[in-house]
Symmetry: C2
Amino acid sequence: MTPATARRVCLGLRICWEEEPELIDLAPATANGPLAGYRVLEFGTNVSAPFAAMLLGDQGADVIKVETAGGDQTRGAGSLRSGVAGISSYFMNVNRNKRSIVVDLKAADGLAAVSALAATCDVVIQNYRPGVADRLGIGYEAIKALRPNIVYVSIDGMGTAGTAAKRRVYDIVIQAMSGFAATQAPIATGVPALVNNAVTDKITALNVWQGVTAALLHRERTGLGQHVQVSMLDAALAFLWPDAMTGITFTGDGVIKLASPAEIKFIHPTKDTHIVVGFFGPDEWAALCNVTGMSELIDEPRFRTLKDRLENIADVNRILSTAFLSRTTAEWVPLLEAADAVFAPVNSPDDLLQDRAIAEAGILEDFDHPATGGYRQPRHPVRFSETPASIRSHAPMLGADTADILGELGLSPD
Amino acid sequence: MTPATARRVCLGLRICWEEEPELIDLAPATANGPLAGYRVLEFGTNVSAPFAAMLLGDQGADVIKVETAGGDQTRGAGSLRSGVAGISSYFMNVNRNKRSIVVDLKAADGLAAVSALAATCDVVIQNYRPGVADRLGIGYEAIKALRPNIVYVSIDGMGTAGTAAKRRVYDIVIQAMSGFAATQAPIATGVPALVNNAVTDKITALNVWQGVTAALLHRERTGLGQHVQVSMLDAALAFLWPDAMTGITFTGDGVIKLASPAEIKFIHPTKDTHIVVGFFGPDEWAALCNVTGMSELIDEPRFRTLKDRLENIADVNRILSTAFLSRTTAEWVPLLEAADAVFAPVNSPDDLLQDRAIAEAGILEDFDHPATGGYRQPRHPVRFSETPASIRSHAPMLGADTADILGELGLSPD
């Protein structure tokens, strides 16, 4: 895939629904990000390894994704464009800024080609089940022998020792093990529920993204590579701990559990959809009372302080849920904004494409993929003043770069 | 706070509920992590900036947290130890591996002291509302004048321009704006719901953690610092996009939405609690049928392939929810493990302390805080073979290090 060559246009303060969004043509592949100059080899499927590698690619790394002849299974997940096979929205969302090479690792010359490629790389990321990479001949020791200062990342589910290390792990397994599912149980029913996206896969990816960067920093200072390991279960527990596990942080006796906001109803129905409001501080409570025409409640003794409101939370929940039914969400937004209240519309995916605040923030960008046509991406989430990240190439078709990459190594595609 | 000096003991393969866990005494403050040698100055409250700074501290950075006389508000959130004021479980979970200095930034000599301190730092992280850091005299330009190669991080809610930049932002606001709340709506009711932890605050922290590391890597290669900006709304949308936004990735016509697993009931009640099971592949379906004594369903035409099972998902959900009622979760776990099924117990926070697989993975460690006594932390989630991260000091009492830090600068606490 050759990136297009026109200039990159930022949507800036334009508002998406007033005009056709301008497509961002991809600039020539000049990487200015903080990872520019490093080469990453990804043996990844699904989300954890691919998402981490993509974020490194956004920051300038040259990312090469090794796929089997069948391709990463996300090539068939999410949405498809009618008449276009082998690439889906899911795959495109975690594989931009990469090249794809198809190699049969079980064939001797496939392993030889990948070994020659690994010898040119700074980073290897793999998310096979524990032991598989070693068996394939691309484990840490094998790659280190080819490239002594390699930063080699292994992602696993629940560690590499013990009975659970052998279990089949998906995001739903880690959500259940770590407490994500239990802490989603509504107070009213106590029935656990999942977070409806692959939250633990993606938290793992963010940990890998930082771990690679930290190991490269160490290598830049000392010349030494290393093995970096991230377990999904570690990543999930470390993420939940700060606030979701405050109740089990202290051991022993004399633990005082403070009033929790868990019983506050933050989401209320409006005439058409739903809205979120908050009332932690006194100004925030006053703003809600004023905007709903209930200013007499500001100094009502039952609701005066946050402590008062929490002690009478059932009344507060009921009053607010009734109050917001009288207008549509679009009618409430400017009123709440003018009142300096804590609020947000509950945006569905379609709603957020129409949200003026999101448009003004300039987060969503439109592109044109040579195979699948028009698509949207959020910009890279970290903005560097001197080393801007960028979307420089679309997600590749399966094996699109096999011949090019082998050619760079002086090998033929056979 | 002076770290204790005894050896660090790893729980290893011990199983928590069979014996008292051994306390991990803190080693002398030798930082071997990849960030060792860097100094981070944190002007942070709540979660986003403090969590990011703590993760940098885990990796060896010398982190100094600047607090007002009132202290970070999380000092009073979560759980408290009876009789111990000024520090809570919430605060301890995002402020280990830091020192605390109390400074009045609005006083001239307070600003002078912080400026002298900033001149010794490699990184500054602040999460004030846009414009506040500049007004206080600790904005990017002011710090850069003192330390030209500073890596300066600004965290905001919804950007720094446009109407929404001025809004009051909490995690609940970003969950609503970004689509987290809408995508939590159960199919049956369509009523949106929140993720019950500060998921967007913490995703922002993980982005900041990587952004700082990447900017330090760039500085190591070029000598140049920079301004790094992360908006919570950017971080949330970039996180949701890969899988939760596959339906709005393509623009234009001819978009085919594939069957989604959203209607699969993954969580089933057991005789006592709940369990998660999955059945994506044929082996996984067969394992569930065998372990529940329904092996006749393996080749039942309605359920033979994943496509078949999705087309008859209501029947699958009902059959499994009935089947798992017959035993307790503790009875099911070894049976499902032996069958190589996709499964996990739905662990409550208390359950996960008793989970053998979590104990075997060695993730949770026990410490003894000089003020609050016994407490648990998950280990740092990224494991480096050559530059191990570590928990070297407990979360500090408010201003515990003010005199020491000022002394290092040649200043007096007055």
